[in-house]
Symmetry: C2
Subunit: 499 residues, 2 copies
């Protein structure tokens, strides 16, 4: 960390007289953040006496109640502790001593029973969450609107409509607007994937792309290999298409176990496709190493299994240059690559796309039959934004913010969650996969948290098996602040008390 | 027709000196239209000598070339004929002596072979048409942008985005935006259907709605009864979902034959659903009479067959009050009602919706799994437009324009198409179903027309059988003008020369 060339004491006194920046947070939260920085910088060291409540009131011209809330907030976060009759003293917060989530068990032939899976569990959880629309949403996978380039997209939309108002009243292009397909193709090229605009089909989000990919390569009754844990939406898609999910153990650091996959492919002859999220897997947040991506493709080709690669998060990786799509190794069109701008650019614009390799014509026909063309306007807006330098600048900022949000959330989990809690260590994105102490029923945590105004995703919906019953997925969609900290504290308390 | 209380001659002289209204058409077209009206009103009667070219030039201050084009245009349309060395004389155009298309054959148990139908024919026709993007499109089912309220929608979109820019960067509501669902529910109420906003699910166009409805009520391998001829998109949907189409003969005036349907339901036990377009059937353009709608529902309930009602065109009916949805008779939730604003408001906004009766929860789940929520922005724009009186005023104008376009197109077909051609007499919308003389191969007409820059829809794609091989569907998407007249003339010539 860079140290400023002024004496700590001087800086501290100076800063104290400055106005606190207006971040939109309540005053006590900003004041607490101010002291947190002073402590973190070493200006106030562990063991030092904190200025008295009265001193804080007069120095910052705040009320008694604000000063008390500030102290409580710092105490909650572990930066202060009260000594009876002596006042408040600075302390170093409990170091995040969170263990990482465990590797999956040694691969064995998966139990066939696990893919019975009528997935009403997912529907139930979604419906239950929808009944609490005002809950603090830590159960989703998109960031809050503030983290996306709202104003720039608004300006572009308005301008485009002024020049081409009939975008609203003319039918669009069947596989997508050429400008958007070109922008997507260039983006793919930058990620190491050679694909022409003609090979790109625009879809309603990445979800429609995965649906179409599965419909193109598999028939009802077929089996599809997936990661375990897997994005619950995928389990729902498979069920709705009459496909059977074969869950392959997946490492929180290396991605899907190739050893387990090979055993499964050898044991079951009816696996038609594999769906994989190689970069920032949901919920694990891991990036599969390059050599494993190449090996996975080779293995699937050997067994004649179509590879469907779902890539909603790649651009959120801390180092996207290390997060190549598997499609980059695909020379024969065996990989169907599905992507989306929902999580990285604009959750309200529903922009997905895919390049379907050998299945291109079939996917085109299925897309036409399923929902025709998508709206042209958002495609053109996105194409223009992506084509400018603004997209990369936005992504850079977004990644930095998400990294900070993840780190602070992990710290808070370490402080407030019960002994024995473990966390994933994602290298990008906004999702944390949290293992609560063994025996914790995450559906009960989910329900109790909802009632207290906090929404998380219970681990049980990430598998047709019961394997992740004690897990929760917690997302980091918004800048960390006091209210978020308090929510995580309540959540930690619930996780420790619910069984 | 109201007669103005002035002498015809006076009116004619007066009008001639007026400026011609600027309709956007070329000058000669407007001048021709001006004289066409004068002739139609009887001001210039059959046998009268037409003013000379020179007189027309000086009266309207137009060039020789414009005057000549005007005369040629009137001659082409049958309003003038040239007598050598005597000049041009008025004549009544050949009276449209077009017969209406025939009723289908006496119902018999349908041949099972007809629903083998791998519908690659449709894909081939669509791909072929896409290779001629500049062709005059008489093969589609939406009107040109000029006929929709482009400017009003642009203004609304821009204003909404100014107030709520995060519509672009926030995830939308899963079953659709409440405002839109309320607007759709009110619209349904006005059509005699009682449905609450909560029962409405927003979809990507009506096509996604029909897909979801079929997926909710039928499994791959099941049989679905449909109209014959049917919208080719439906045949494609059925094929893509692994469903078998059972084609029921359908009258060009009364809609699906209930007699044939009953015979078919009694003969086949595996019919799970029926898809019907009761109002402005595509391609026939007919509206099923009320008592037949009620009887159809009763019959389907008796046989336990789910009714999927597809309603993209209802609001284009000349008298929408006579075009009630079947859903209006449904008290038990047996009808899945699918609708869309694509054809009536904004082809670029992809707004569809459905109310799924007993299958509501299943459809909700399928929609979520298939493509999540739709964009909020166009839903809010449409809700506002529909809620104002502007929508009804727009519909009124649109219906009037479509009626004029249909009538002029039928006139032109009567003039230019070969002896023995028959046409449907739709009571709304923009589609004409034309029976060419027996033995005409409409796919050859389609191909030859494309090469000449005209796109129509060959009858062969409206059935899995060969029954409509000599039909074409011609749409009336744009104001009738000279170039359209010339195109229909060429088309008529092709239809007469291709076998």
């Amino acid at each position: 960390m860079l140290r400023r060339n002024i004496s700590p004491m001087h800086s501290y006194e100076d800063d104290a007289r400055c106005n606190l920046p207006d971040t939109g947070e309540p005053l006590y939260g900003r004041l607490a953040e101010y002291y947190r920085r002073i402590i973190a910088a070493g200006t106030l060291a562990p063991g030092d006496r904190m200025p008295s409540i009265r001193a804080v009131m007069s120095r910052h011209r705040v009320s008694l109640s604000t000063a008390i809330q500030t102290f409580r907030c710092l105490e909650d976060a572990g930066w202060l502790h009260a000594r009876p009759r002596a006042g408040y003293f600075v302390r170093t917060p409990v170091p995040p001593k969170l263990d990482t989530v465990r590797e999956p068990e040694v691969p064995v032939v998966p139990d066939e029973a696990q893919y019975v899976g009528l997935h009403e569990k997912v529907s139930r959880v979604i419906a239950r969450a929808a009944a609490f629309p005002d809950a603090l949403n830590l159960g989703g996978a998109t960031a809050v609107a503030d983290l996306y380039p709202t104003a720039a997209l608004q300006t572009l939309t308005t301008r485009l409509l002024r020049h081409r108002p009939t975008l609203l009243t003319e039918a669009g292009a069947d596989s997508g607007v050429p400008e958007f397909r070109q922008a997507a193709a260039r983006r793919a090229l930058a990620a190491g994937v050679t694909v022409s605009p003609d090979e790109i089909i625009v879809t309603t989000g990445g979800v429609e792309a995965v649906n179409l990919a599965l419909r193109a390569v598999a028939q009802p009754g077929d089996t599809v290999a997936i990661e375990s844990p897997a994005f619950f939406g995928l389990l729902q898609i498979l069920e709705s298409l009459g496909l059977r999910a074969l869950e392959i153990p997946t490492s929180p650091t290396m991605g899907m176990s190739l050893e387990a996959l090979e055993i499964a492919l050898a044991a079951y002859g009816n696996v038609k496709a594999l769906v994989v999220v190689p970069n920032l897997q949901n919920p694990l947040g891991c990036v599969m190493p390059d050599e494993r991506k190449a090996a996975l493709l080779k293995l699937c080709m050997r067994y004649g299994v179509a590879v469907i690669e779902d890539e909603p998060y790649r651009e959120l990786s801390d180092s996207p240059e290390n997060a190549k799509p598997i499609k980059a190794w695909d020379t024969g069109g065996h990989v169907i690559h599905c992507a989306s701008f929902n999580k990285v650019l604009a959750p309200g614009m529903r922009l997905g796309w895919m390049s379907a390799g050998r299945w291109h014509e079939r996917v085109r026909m299925l897309k036409f039959a399923q929902s025709r063309h998508n709206e042209a306007l958002p495609q053109l807006v996105a194409a223009e934004f992506i084509g400018s330098g603004a997209f990369d600048r936005h992504l850079h900022r977004l990644r930095e913010k998400l990294r900070a949000q993840r780190e602070k959330t992990i710290d808070a989990v370490a402080r407030y969650f019960p002994e024995g809690t473990r966390s994933s260590s994602p290298t990008g994105g906004l999702l944390l996969w949290i293992a609560l102490p063994e025996g914790t029923d995450s559906e009960k945590v989910f329900e109790a948290a909802l009632v207290q105004g906090i929404r998380v995703a219970p681990g049980s919906i990430f598998s047709n098996s019961d394997r992740f019953r004690s897990f929760v997925r917690i997302s980091c969609p918004r800048p960390f602040d006091h209210s978020l900290e308090q929510a995580l504290r309540r959540l930690g308390h619930l996780a420790g008390s619910v069984r």
